[in-house]
């Protein structure tokens, strides 16, 4: 007898403030997606399907950061419906590029973009999901690496630990055989303090890493900043390099504020 389709584990995808790129990585999994679709039910994925199957869900993938009071409530509901909650991407994991507003007065920002600012409701800060609810796994990247996404989903479905390395982009560079752009060309690079996962693409394309994957485990940000200063980077350049896609990640935030106040 065919299995009742709702007896398969259910997967849901949720969106908060984001560009949709991380969800798109799931659609980009193409064959892998069709293969997973056999083992699980994609119960709620509005970007791809009209059909919505009620929770609870075995796995919830959460994209995007919290920027509104409404969303700060919605994430709690999602947590209650989800056995495992996995954040996908820099927005959900550190607050994303929109967390650049955390360093400015949000009202200034609203005034720059809108003629009638009164309609706008936006929290002061863009915050990661883990500041609001318990998160079981954080997958980094802007966007995430789709193969890593398949690995994490498979791991949770099979109740094992995901095999996602936490070392730096530097190590990936060495494995890939890249020549170091800092040593050979004097290009500033965040690779030494950035979480692996992209396979060191930027240095392979002759440019420095701007840390779209965010800080690695125990990043030595101070010593990298010293090196940047020796290379002649100005104070403003130092602030800006840490204020990128993962500006709100703890280590980067502290470092950019440190240079700002110096």
């Amino acid at each position: 007898m065919p299995l009742n389709k709702t007896s398969k584990p259910k997967l849901a995808v949720w969106k908060f403030a984001s560009c949709d790129g991380c969800q798109l990585s799931l659609l980009d999994c193409e064959d892998a997606l069709l293969a997973i679709a056999d083992k699980i039910v994609i119960a709620s994925f509005p970007e791809a399907s009209r059909e919505i199957i009620k929770g609870p869900y075995e796995i919830s993938l959460v994209e995007g950061s919290i920027t509104s009071a409404h969303d700060a409530e919605r994430i709690h509901k999602i947590r209650r419906m989800s056995k495992t909650l996995i954040t996908i991407g820099a927005c959900a994991t550190s607050g994303g590029i929109q967390a650049l507003k955390n360093f400015k007065d949000v009202n200034d920002f609203i005034n720059i973009v809108y003629a009638k600012p009164d309609y706008i409701s936006s929290l002061k800060n863009s915050t990661p999901i883990a500041e609001h609810v318990k998160v079981d796994f954080e997958l980094r990247g802007c966007p995430i690496n789709k193969l890593a996404l398949v690995e994490v989903c498979n791991a949770y479905l099979n109740r094992r630990k995901p095999n996602i390395p936490t070392h730096s982009v530097c190590i990936e560079c060495k494995r890939r055989g890249n020549i170091c752009v800092m040593v050979s060309k004097g290009i500033p690079c965040l690779g030494p303090v950035t979480h692996a996962g992209c396979d060191a693409i930027c240095p392979a394309y002759n440019r420095g890493c701007y840390s779209c994957f965010g800080p690695s485990e125990d990043p030595n940000v101070k010593s990298l900043s010293n090196q940047f200063e020796e290379m002649g980077m100005s104070k403003d350049e130092l602030i800006r390099i840490y204020r990128g896609i993962n500006a709100n990640a703890e280590e980067f935030k502290n470092e950019s504020i440190f240079h700002e106040q110096k």
């Binding site: 970007e47 399907s49 590029i97 650049l100 693409i201």
Partner: protein, 432 residues
């Protein structure tokens, strides 16, 4: 007794559009009383945080406006900044820019046609269910889309948020050899694009011609991607730098997004239908013939048929990619050196969903002092609402569920990339 009855249809979460939108309809005595197409994307303030960034950082930031069309936001940015700083790229670099855009068009159009839009026409909830009955169709679509991704990955380093696009050119150039396997795949893609056109031409379309003002780029020699004048079928013909003189964005209370309109005439439409009608003569004879064989005239006013036009444009993009790769000569340098100065520059490119306008003001150190970006979705808002207003009386006798689905389909005609409207307003949800 004939009691008047009021019906309210609320679609809280529009599926199969990128980003988040909702629709509110109030129908009284079989007449439409109120339509609200809402977008509830939280604001992300891109234009604000572009300020005080160095021009070289801009393409990496603007890419993050939209994960579906990051190349469009990078192209708009680099062209506007190069315009500001008086830089012009040699033809070989220019061709590579067109090539990466071909990749995005293929990827985005094929995703929309097969995964997001076709299920509507064929009565499926999504492409996964469509794949159960017609695996060969979906698999062909997936393979074609992957070839678009492959172009973006080869030139851009990865498929979403490419890292290789730079003001002045690229960080690194591909060699002729790098294109070998891609070229083979593109030859297959050409056949697949032809069958995509045939397939979409056999779908059933409602009679639904609308009187649109089409706005698109027009270039003297080619079907437009990155350059051209902004023209319309109602007499507009302006330089990109004059965009803000002719168009304005207004805040509309019920929607979260800014609506852009022509100052003189109000609503207009951008995207595949507009490009097609204004540039049909720029297609190769092969593409023109394929369009005609699919039953299209040189202009098409039925928004539901945008799915055929996306397929026609996919064929064009595949052929263009083949042409560029076959003629590829590696440029001498991956980029040209650009020096900052106090300046302002404008750029407008054809994103898959329509024209996307950028303006940047720079100071003498190359830092952005002001930025303005007008994405295609905010330009199409008014057309989307007016399509719905016209459509509902024609389908008013259907069940609520069917009306809902048809309206969703009409919105999906625009492939609205909602998160790309980089500035949004608070939604007031209307409950009755």
């Amino acid at each position: 007794m004939n009691k008047s009855k009021t019906k309210i249809i609320n679609v809280d979460y529009l599926a199969r559009v990128e980003g988040e939108g909702s629709l509110y309809l109030k129908i009284k005595d079989d007449k439409v009383q109120d339509i609200k197409f809402k977008i509830f994307e939280p604001p992300r303030f891109f234009e604000a945080f572009l300020r005080e960034r160095h021009f070289s950082e801009v393409p990496d930031i603007t890419a993050r406006i939209c994960g579906i069309c990051p190349v469009a936001y990078q192209m708009g940015a680099v062209h506007a900044i190069e315009n500001a700083l008086g830089a012009s790229l040699d033809n070989n670099l220019r061709e590579l820019r067109r090539l990466i855009y071909c990749g995005e068009w293929i990827e985005s159009h094929v995703l929309h046609v097969y995964m997001l839009h076709a299920p509507d026409f064929l009565g499926y909830q999504d492409a996964i269910q469509l794949a159960k009955d017609h695996p060969e169709v979906v698999n062909e679509g997936l393979r074609l889309k992957k070839i678009g991704n492959e172009i973006v990955t080869l030139l851009g380093g990865r498929e979403i948020h490419p890292i290789n696009v730079k003001v002045g050119g690229f960080y690194k150039l591909p060699t002729k050899k790098d294109f070998n396997s891609l070229l083979e795949n593109l030859k297959w893609a050409r056949t697949a694009a032809h069958s995509m056109i045939k397939l979409t031409s056999t779908l059933t379309y409602p009679d639904f011609e609308q009187d649109y003002e089409f706005v698109a780029l027009r270039h003297p020699d080619e079907y437009p991607f990155n350059e051209g004048r902004i023209v319309s079928n109602k007499g507009l013909d302006i330089d990109v730098a004059d965009f803000e003189k002719h168009f304005e964005e207004e805040q509309v209370e019920h929607s979260t997004s800014l609506h852009c309109k022509l100052k003189e005439r109000g609503k207009y439409k951008v995207g595949p239908l507009a490009r097609y009608a204004l540039n049909f003569d720029k297609f190769s004879s092969e593409v023109q013939k394929a369009a005609k064989d699919a039953g299209l005239k040189e202009e098409c006013y039925n928004p539901f048929k945008s799915i055929i036009i996306r397929s026609v444009e996919t064929l064009h993009a595949v052929n263009e990619a083949i042409r560029i790769i076959e003629n590829y000569v590696e440029p001498k340098k991956p980029y040209i050196e650009i020096n900052p100065k106090e300046s302002v520059g404008y750029g407008c490119t054809e994103a898959p969903r329509g024209i996307c306008y950028h303006r940047y003001n720079l100071d003498s150190n190359g830092l952005v002092t002001n930025a303005n970006i007008v994405p295609p979705t905010s330009q199409n808002q008014k057309s989307i609402e007016s399509d719905l207003r016209e459509l509902i009386p024609l389908i008013i006798n259907l069940s609520d569920e069917e009306i809902t689905w048809k309206c969703e389909q009409a919105i999906r005609n625009y492939d609205p990339c909602i998160s790309c409207s980089c500035h949004f307003l608070k939604v007031s949800i209307d409950r009755e």
